[in-house]
């Protein structure tokens, strides 16, 4: 519990830092002032409210979503490599959204966002269908291979859209590289609503997930409605991954790494562990964004690139220390 509080403190600090940092650094008092009073003549306040607050909120929610989606998927599949990035859910969401943007640019954001959820669901369905067929169905290796194949497929489709659609290049690139910048708050508010509902919906399922983590037979033996629980978990993953992709595009590694770190630091109780995933995922994305927008001024490193830069070494360290992953694998 103390660790959870420390994670919360760290998150709040990163949140504040994210409001302060940028091409121009603002002091804590300027930030505080900008948040509390909305004076139209105050240029600094305007910058903070219209650019830094939205990107901070997007990083916060998208980070929490990806990490929790990863955690839920790892329990659902009992596979330590499960994450919305590796199993193709993000790639599916990205592809359908990018396709709609390219083929139907006038459709407006709500349709594009709907596409993200549909794409996430489509990819989840495909991975499941491939992994469950034939020999060793549902085995850990098969699932990851199916996920890798679906990810590659959808990613190349998305990249093909770049060639087809030269005008929409910027929008498509924005989502492909992953970014939390430049999203008007009004545009992402509905997505945040969906994301928050999905995040809090994990709480009532946490106790059942604790049992499911010990295996399907055990869970059914103590009276968990396993099929219903698994379906709910898949729906949660689709909502979480879909809304994070729609908000911030393709962001790698958060959904994979954060659940592992949280597992090292917290007890294996989904009520605490998933809360820790949410806090740490949000913190990681906030910090990645702060670094991304300050190190090569006046340009920015897209957040998707930053998380890969931070995530890859972390993941290698984890794998090396564990000698190949996870007790359950």
């Amino acid at each position: 519990m103390t660790r959870l509080v420390m994670m919360l403190v760290l998150l709040l600090a990163s949140l504040w830092l994210s409001l302060m940092a940028g091409a121009v650094w603002y002091g804590p008092s300027t930030v505080g002032h900008a948040l509390l009073s909305a004076s139209p003549t105050d240029v600094q306040g305007l910058v903070i409210r219209t650019t830094r607050v939205p990107r901070t909120l997007v990083a916060l929610v998208a980070g929490a979503c990806l990490a929790v989606a990863g955690g839920v998927m790892q329990t659902l599949t009992r596979n330590p490599l499960a994450s919305p990035g590796l199993l193709g859910v993000n790639a599916g969401a990205l592809f359908v959204m990018v396709m709609l943007v390219s083929l139907w640019p006038g459709a407006g954001v709500s349709l594009w966002y709907g596409g993200a959820f549909a794409g996430a669901a489509l990819a989840a369905l495909l991975v499941w269908a491939v992994a469950m067929r034939g020999q060793a169905s549902g085995g850990p290796l098969k699932l990851v291979l199916a996920g890798a194949a679906i990810t590659a497929l959808f990613t190349s489709f998305s990249q093909a859209m770049l060639v087809i659609d030269q005008q929409g290049l910027d929008t498509v690139l924005f989502w492909l590289a992953g970014s939390v910048a430049g999203r008007p708050l009004a545009e992402v508010t509905p997505l945040m609503g969906v994301a928050l509902v999905a995040l809090f919906a994990c709480r009532p399922l946490a106790r059942s997930m604790n049992v499911l983590a010990a295996g399907e037979a055990i869970a059914r033996g103590v009276g968990v409605g396993v099929a219903r629980l698994q379906l709910l978990m898949v729906v949660l993953v689709i909502l979480l991954a879909g809304s994070s992709v729609a908000m911030a595009g393709n962001i790698a590694f958060v959904g994979l790494i954060v659940p592992h770190i949280a597992r090292r630091l917290l007890p294996v109780d989904h009520r605490i562990w998933l809360a820790g995933c949410a806090l740490m995922g949000a913190t990681l994305l906030l910090l990645a964004d702060v670094i991304g927008r300050t190190v090569i001024l006046p340009r920015e490193i897209p957040i998707g690139v930053m998380t890969a830069l931070i995530g890859a070494p972390l993941f290698i360290t984890l794998v090396r220390r564990q000698g190949g992953g996870h007790g359950r694998a």
């Binding site: 049992v211 010990a214 055990i218 009276g223 294996v268």
Partner: protein
């Protein structure tokens, strides 16, 4: 109280029929052991009794009611199951594992009661795991780990316990330890125990009631001395043997011949 029985039970996987109109009644407050050769359907039968598999036809009855029609949580308060080779989540402590057994007794409103804590404590004491309660399940030896899983079933506090090969992969000492524990639970608390065992001689020692499954049907059932005879071992296992009486415990003792000619 809880009695479990199967009536004309037929089921299988995909297109392969495993159980074929099988009938069996497991006696209450006794230790029943299912025996049979590999692939005869005894594990499948146990899973069907625990409502993990749904029958093609026929039914499994718990206290006279079709188990598939009862709410799963209600069944879980009457019947606990220890599957083959369960794997605990990494980093889970013994106490956390045992606490999972309280799931069917909890609800939305009543998340963790004093009764839950009491039952977990009792299960730990009963299985001799109090000193190891805070240790990780992965750090335990095979025998201790199996006791932790049994403790989870004990915490579930059901009159009926089903166990699928609870002694596999344990050395002889720990096999005996697990079986002694199950017998204590049966004798002292009146629990009905139904389990699959591979070792015929241990089965004879611990079973009150023995069910020999062969080709998806009950070949014969009764006390160990009724079931384990030279002819029936030949029929059920396809094994030549002699049966003598255990000089200390007076249960049947099977001496397998294999390829060696009988002396």
């Amino acid at each position: 109280m809880a009695t479990v029985s199967a009536r004309a039970l037929t089921l299988g996987y995909q297109h392969q029929r495993i159980l074929d109109e099988l009938d069996v009644v497991l006696p209450e407050r006794q230790i029943s052991v299912l025996v049979g050769s590999n692939g005869c359907g005894k594990s499948t039968l146990l899973k069907a009794l625990a409502r993990l598999l749904s029958p093609w036809s026929g039914e499994v009855c718990l206290n006279g009611v079709d188990i598939q029609t009862r709410p799963t949580r209600e069944v879980a308060r009457l019947l606990s199951l220890l599957p083959q080779h369960p794997v605990a989540p990494e980093g889970m402590t013994v106490r956390q594992l045992v606490s999972l057994g309280r799931y069917p007794h909890q609800s939305w409103i009543n998340q963790w009661s004093r009764e839950d804590a009491r039952q977990v404590e009792r299960a730990l004491t009963r299985t001799g795991l109090v000193d190891m309660a805070e240790r990780g399940v992965d750090s335990l030896s095979g025998g201790q780990r199996q006791r932790a899983w049994i403790a989870m079933a004990v915490a579930q506090d059901t009159p009926l316990m089903l166990l699928d090969e609870p002694t596999s992969f344990l050395d002889l000492t720990h096999q005996m330890e697990v079986l002694d524990l199950l017998r204590d639970l049966n004798r002292q608390e009146g629990k009905t125990v139904v389990m699959v065992l591979h070792d015929l001689n241990l089965a004879c020692r611990y079973a009150d009631h023995m069910v020999a499954v062969c080709r998806g049907r009950v070949h014969i059932q009764g006390t160990p001395s009724e079931v384990v005879t030279r002819e029936q071992v030949k029929e059920v296992f396809g094994l030549s043997c002699r049966i003598i009486q255990d000089p200390f415990f007076h249960t049947p003792l099977c001496i397998p011949f294999g390829r060696d000619a009988p002396p």
